[in-house]
Symmetry: C2
Amino acid sequence: MQVPRAAASRPLGKGEIPEATVARLPVYLRVLSALADSDVGTVSSEALAAAAGVGSAKLRKDLSHLGSYGTRGVGYDVEYLVYQISRALGLTQHYRVAIIGVGNLGHALANYAGFATRGFRIAALVDADPARVGEEIVGLEIRHLDELEVVIKEHEISIGVIATPAGAAQDVCDRLVACGVTSVLNFAPTVLAVPEAVDVRKVDLSIELQILAFHEQRKAAGIHAEPGAAVPDDVRSAGAAS
Amino acid sequence: MQVPRAAASRPLGKGEIPEATVARLPVYLRVLSALADSDVGTVSSEALAAAAGVGSAKLRKDLSHLGSYGTRGVGYDVEYLVYQISRALGLTQHYRVAIIGVGNLGHALANYAGFATRGFRIAALVDADPARVGEEIVGLEIRHLDELEVVIKEHEISIGVIATPAGAAQDVCDRLVACGVTSVLNFAPTVLAVPEAVDVRKVDLSIELQILAFHEQRKAAGIHAEPGAAVPDDVRSAGAAS
DNA sequence: AGCTCTTTGTGCATACGTTCACAAGCGTCG
DNA sequence: CGACGCTTGTGAACGTATGCACAAAGAGCT
């Protein structure tokens, strides 16, 4: 995975929720919320799994890690399950988020509505460009990067979103960490180095595209030469051999 | 994982590159490109791994799936490795990308420079809002959603990027797939249903935040009650029991 | 040539994740 | 009240991923 698990030594302590499950819970939560809005009272694992795009067995195992909610022969109470998943994810408390870098992407993030819905509040916007400082986006004034430390403390930020150019990302990250921020969402195309105790998740458009490209190529190759014969393995010379 | 592997039955056919490896190759590629720009001739697995934020053993195993490039006692030739990874990912050919939905996020994506660098060309922008149609973003005219099919064919799009509101996503996706697009990058907060042969990758801000929230909460809990004692497991009544 | 030093590539052990298949549990209907 | 049908929760089997540790293999020096 990508998040360096703090103290990952023993084989999954009993009460622990596996990382893969954690990554899926938000999906379930979203589907369940939609169901709740449609006044659906209960769902079966089968139905919920279909809506979430996973197998029903996987879904049940995932939910079983939270506890034994759900009634045999009936299914899961939608509203109750929403509550339990929220609790498991720690969404019963609210988190204040700061966005560093208010360029195109930062703007988009700040305006993203679904942001605030689930317990996250954008509490601060920071940018290095003096021309942008003072601008107001979503009822929030953009502050200058120099004030980063002050802003973080002032608003008790617990999650930092880095939407700066790649060059600035590591520096910003270091400063966030120095202020005590232990969760970072990184949109800059860089690998961030952080202490063990800090969680970093990265969202990288170009990586996603490259992964798609790989599969695209594989599919295309399959059309021309289905049988196991691999692509002719190129002689060691093409393009580079300084 | 999240991409339903087409024909994932046999235990990893010999020449195949594992999904986890594919997901890391773009990272190596980026680091290597930076090294190449700094006129570095060769890297050791140790150095490269450090820069990419992974263990050196993992890196070597990843690379070993592409073939046996690299020289014992020396390391890897940077330029050559760039080429090999590019080839493995299918970046030797170029992909034409269409962005559907040119709101805040779509704008950000269209302007994202690192987009074009690695063999991807934004070939079309599409939006449903007549007010936006005709606008020009990066030397590209925004076309109307009604023309989606025409645009896709016209520009031979192979990858569709969905940046629409959640409600429109599935419909747009269906239409893309109907046009023969087999790779989709979805930014809308919805689970897309697609045929087996289509790869979908999703990028979801709110999911990432929720995952961070989970870890944040776990860290906070650890401070107050380090010993294994779990959080008091709440009685089954809070908030819902219709 | 032979020796040494470095670094790759990989066999092996372990942990993690997924899937199947089924017993246990709950509601319902006769 | 007992039998039946449906759905959960989970044990067990399999596949995938990770990390260690080391043999094999160049490069360079004497």
